[in-house]
């Protein structure tokens, strides 16, 4: 699967409508064995890329969702304390034997990062929203991503049996360190253009026909050009498309009221909602051929 074109085809077969450059990025990932850092607004489908990649490689997807305060025990491994305490009770009086026993594999709980380097087949490791984790975790991750080995004080060093395909995503809530950026390939995921968004709608929403999908994509594009507090992402577009299809809308011009009322699928703050008066919807609708 070295070839870029093969990857592009495989992505299409997996139902992921990629822009041209993404296939290059995925091919490079494979070739240079570097992690891929995806940046972009919320809702442009960064997480979907990892899912598609897992599908392309027919690999398992292991996901680590980052949050503030994420630490080793939630990301890497943890001892199974309940079982350890039980074992200690059961072997009361044989103190020497206990230590070896309760710090063995049997009592180790794998968390996503450890799991990702101990699989027989290389999985896809998705480290989601890395910008939400704190600096210390980022530094730790950097070390793991370059050495692919983990040391557990009680057990010793564990080397990776396979190198996972690593995808990191970031929403830009915090500036990432230069070291991590340098380590990774970089791809900026933008909102899809009209044509691509229409194809995404066709692929993901049952019952949508080509002309409606194109209308929806054009409408969403012009909505994104308005001054909004929160721009609608691709997931919102799909919700909206599903809503319109479900409400039996064939052509948006036939049902301007329904179009206006279902805008709640796209506009998610009170301010944006209040700004979109029926006249605004009508004006945008007028531009959609």
């Amino acid at each position: 699967m070295q070839n870029r074109d093969e990857i592009a085809q495989a992505l299409a077969a997996c139902g992921y409508i990629a822009d041209g450059e993404l296939a290059t990025a995925l091919a490079l990932m494979q070739m240079l064995r570097r992690p891929l850092l995806l940046e972009g607004e919320a809702g442009v489908g960064k997480t979907e890329v990892a899912k598609a990649l897992a599908c392309v490689h027919t690999a398992e997807l292991i996901r680590l969702q980052c949050y503030e305060g994420l630490d080793q025990s939630a990301a890497l491994y943890e001892w199974n304390y309940q079982r350890q305490l039980l074992a200690i009770e059961a072997h009361r009086g044989h103190a020497d034997a206990i230590e070896d026993q309760i710090f063995s594999e049997k009592y180790l709980l794998e968390r996503p990062l450890l799991a990702a380097i101990r699989r027989a087949q290389p999985p896809v490791l998705l480290i989601d929203e890395i910008d939400r984790a704190d600096d210390e975790f980022e530094a730790f991750l950097l070390e793991l991503l370059s050495d692919f080995q983990v040391s557990i004080p009680e057990l010793g060093t564990i080397n990776a049996s396979t190198i996972p395909h690593v995808v990191l995503t970031s929403n830009g809530t915090r500036e990432l360190s230069d070291a991590l950026r340098r380590r990774c390939l970089y791809h900026y995921v933008d909102y899809p253009d009209v044509d691509r968004e229409a194809r995404i709608i066709l692929a993901k929403v049952d019952g949508a026909d080509a002309s409606l999908a194109l209308q929806i994509a054009r409408m969403v594009e012009s909505i994104r050009k308005e001054e909004l507090r929160k721009m609608p992402g691709v997931a919102e577009t799909l919700d909206w498309a599903a809503a319109l299809v479900g409400l039996d809308v064939r052509d948006m011009h036939d049902a301007p009221d329904v179009v206006h009322e279902t805008l709640m699928c796209l506009l998610k703050t009170h301010e944006d909602r209040a700004r979109f008066k029926p006249e605004v919807t009508a004006r945008l609708l007028g531009r959609v051929a």
């Binding site: 290059t24 891929l36 304390y81 305490l85 009361r92 103190a95 929403n171 340098r182 390939l185 791809h187």
Partner: protein, 402 residues
């Protein structure tokens, strides 16, 4: 720096001709000139890519290099232009963006500024540097810091705009920098003492109690991790504030140096992100870079618009739940006062506290009558004068309470 090293690394790839590798090396130099962080490993990977057949298809090579060399959105956006200009000989729209010509053009003037600065600073270097070297050994002490401030005592109550002779201004600057430092040290110490977490650390507890059969007698507890406060400063650099701007710039420079998490912005008719310029170690150079940025377009302060820009493009990145936003401005809004009110409301929702420092507040007979300040005040947690060093120092207890 590593141009020669990079070139020699390429020699290992036999099938890449020497000419190509030289060209690649100079491309890497171009990228570095344009602010992309390109290291040795990237260079090797790039050579490997060209050897793997990407070199034959320029559009593909461009896309591949783009992923490899970019590290952030700004790199990503300008990469295509750089690539085309270098490899395909096309001229890009913004000529100045290519091959470091912008830097070359601005270098002489920057250098001239530096030279002028060092000449000027030469006379006062004693005032400028003595306190900081005194401070070094007392890094942990905390109390020594406070004694150091005594030299500024006579200046503490003087309004900044009344400082006339250069020496007094220099002293005020140094005092502002020291104050910023002292604030940081004291803040940290108090924070650490206050928090004692009570969570049980099961892993260490089990470890420690193995020797007596595993019955958890001695408990190991976990303390809550100390998280520093983040300070975001928005400084009004408009004409009406000009008498105060310099001292505040110095204060901000001190704060940025010492707070691990601090960001600074300047605004007049528009907003400028200045943390990077401020992180320059040498205060005089940082101030020079800043005073260039601080020169307004002349005429008016658009606080509302600047805040809007801040909320839209920067807030998500620089503000989290433990952030204090400090706005230093006289509140003379020449733009839309209603917009200012709306943006202040949006900002207040995001951050922990908003402090508004208004140097004019201490003037005789001042009342917050300006439309801008009236619109903003409902959202401000602390509204204080900041026209003297002692009023700056008075902010500290407020910051520690966060």
């Amino acid at each position: 720096m590593s141009a020669r090293a990079t070139t020699s690394a390429f020699d290992e790839f036999d099938d890449v001709s020497l000419r190509l590798s030289t060209k690649l090396a100079s491309f890497l130099r171009t990228l570095r000139d344009n602010g992309l962080a390109v290291g040795l490993a990237e260079g090797q990977d790039a050579a490997a890519l060209m050897a793997a057949g990407y070199a034959a298809r320029p559009p593909l090579l461009r896309s591949a290099f783009k992923h490899l060399f970019s590290a952030r959105k700004s790199d990503w956006d300008k990469f295509d232009g750089l690539f085309d200009a270098f490899w395909l000989g096309k001229r890009v729209r913004a000529r100045s963006g290519v091959t470091g010509s912008a830097r070359a053009a601005s270098n002489p003037s920057l250098k001239g500024l530096q030279d002028a600065q060092s000449e000027r600073a030469g006379g006062h270097s004693a005032t400028d540097e003595a306190p900081s070297s005194d401070d070094e050994p007392q890094e942990r002490g905390g109390e020594g810091r406070m004694e150091g401030a005594s030299r500024a005592e006579n200046l503490a109550e003087v309004d900044f705009r009344k400082l006339a002779n250069p020496e007094a201004i220099e002293q005020a600057h140094a005092a502002a920098a020291r104050l910023a430092k002292a604030m940081r040290t004291r803040l940290t110490r108090r924070d650490l003492l206050r928090r004692r977490g009570e969570r049980l650390d099961l892993r260490r507890t089990i470890h420690r109690n193995i020797s007596h059969g595993g019955v958890p007698i001695a408990l190991v507890k976990r303390r809550r991790k100390h998280k520093p406060l983040r300070l975001v400063i928005l400084l009004d650099a408009s004409g009406s504030m000009s008498m105060y701007t310099a001292v505040f710039l110095r204060f901000i420079h001190g704060v940025l140096d010492e707070f691990r998490e601090a960001e600074a912005f300047l605004f007049h008719t528009r907003l400028a992100y200045v943390s990077d310029a401020m992180k320059e170690k040498d205060a005089a150079r940082a101030l020079d870079r800043l005073s260039i940025m601080a020169q307004g377009a002349g005429g008016g302060t658009k606080i509302g618009e600047s805040l809007q820009t801040f909320n839209r493009w920067h807030a998500a990145r620089v503000i989290h739940s433990r952030t204090c936003v400090m706005i230093v401005s006289d509140g003379y809004e020449t733009g839309d006062a209603d917009l200012l009110g709306r943006e202040m409301a949006a900002l207040a929702k995001r951050c922990r506290r908003i402090a508004w420092l208004n140097p004019m507040m201490a003037w005789d007979g001042y009342a917050p009558e300006a439309k801008g300040i009236k619109a903003a005040l409902p959202f401000v947690d602390l509204y204080a004068p900041a026209n003297t060093l002692s009023s700056l120092a008075a902010l500290e207890p407020y910051l520690t309470r966060m």
